[in-house]
Amino acid sequence: MSDLLTTPIPESEAIEASGAKPRSLTLNMGPQHPSTHGVLRLELELDGETILKCRPDIGYLHTGIEKEFEVKNYQQAVTLTDRIDYLAPLSNNLCYCLAVEKLLGLEIPPLAQWTRVMLTELTRLNSHLVWLGTHAIDIGAMSVFLYCFREREDILRIFEMYSGQRMMTSYFRIGGLALEPPRGWQQRVRTFIEAFPGKVDEYEELLTNNRIWIGRTRGIGYMSIEDMLDLGISGPMLRAAGLKCDARKDQPYSSYEKFDFEVPTRTEGDVYSRYLVRIEEMRQSARIVKQALEGMPTGRWTADAPHVVLPDREKMKTQMEALIYHFKIVTEGFRVPAGEVYQVIESPRGEVGYYVIGDGTTHPYRVHVRGPSFGNLQGVPRMVEGTLIADVIASIGSMDFVLGDCDR
């Protein structure tokens, strides 16, 4: 016994003597890992620091929203769409409303369409700011987070001004907007959007030429266009690999065709290029907001469809017809003709799709939500297998997923 303690045995001999074979180590990253920003579990099989296999496990945030759509009437269901992707609530509002409006065949007035464009672009800024801040904090750049949340606060205040809510706005309704745009919105939006490009310069000053940032992100998390298309990945990740694919340009909706903006692309397909693409997207979104601000049409904010849109209080108190419509819409909801629609829009994260089936009643028969995060997360194994464990955080951070959107 004492011999064993005093005489050191060479390591390789000791392994041989014990009869053990080299084997991999399985490590659970999550569901509570801070970098997953939600509850995502990655089951990693490691050989030293190299990842041999990665199995993502999702579903921790599954709330059965698709089932809940079936028991709400069409207008009530708008509030569910906010909660799917809680960093881009207005994008989801918009997609759902467009789908139902397509079923109803509603014509949306220009003021509502432009306001929708402006607010969804502010949502894109909001979402990209949260992404940039948290992505940077994951990699170790603490201060960017504080800068980003400073601007995000301004955007949330604008949302609050419009809808009374900071996050779950539900501001877009079937048939237009929930409320008339508030008095003085131009001033608020102008102050913000004129200062914003300077703020983006600040973030870039902190990161774009930062040696540590480049070291942690350049060449990391590479994926080819073919792999991404095959795996169903969409949005900025695809554009960072060089594919110019953006629903705002390809299948314009809500009068996006009237706005002048570029779709930024890169060719590298790594974490750094995704960062650059999103930074440029922020500048382009700011351009769109500015155009919307300057060219905002006047007129009504809801469609001329008394059977869908609630009447004004004034009319309700003076006209019998309006009162009847109000009663019917509130108690029963409005009927949507039978049919099916798959509406796609470009959310900050990629392609959002709402597949709405109507059966002629006041409730949707079925709503299927194609969340971009669900499609994107499928690519995690392809992206991280064979790389080092330290790069997993940078890689999954660059996907910008929201687990609520993934699990629904």
């Binding site: 999702i58 079923l103 095959d230 629609v341 799709g353 299927h368 669900f374």
Partner: protein, 157 residues
Amino acid sequence: MLPENLKENATAAALEAFDGGAVLSGKFDRGELTIDVTPDKIVSVCGFLKYDLGFVRLSTVSGVDWYPAEPRFEVVYHLHSLDRNERLRLKCRLPGSDPQIDSVTEVWRGANWYERETFDLFGVRFRNHPDLRRIMLPDDWQGHPLRKDYNITGDRI
């Protein structure tokens, strides 16, 4: 068989020419093309659409339950072609008892999770799927919540 108004549609006509027996019907409604396909031929039809007609993206797969009608289930594939800037919806109708269909994961690897989701929430089995497990719900969950006859109000005590 395609209806008359779809004979002019390039995608629908090409699909009909590829395999007339696979196309059951089709419609063009609100600017969206839907084609009903025989479930047995879904893999070959998807392969043709991807490699010959350029539908490189599978946007999503959704299930629909038409309970109590028969055939009860629909599996709906939403395809997207970037070159043609076109979207297409394929539908397969499946019976209520033991719904099964071939997996299209060999055409698009991305179908994996979408099919798992449909399996999890509707109980449609995808043959030849590499990893057909529940994805949203816990592994020991009973039933398939998006079915129309799923009990959502709880059991009476």
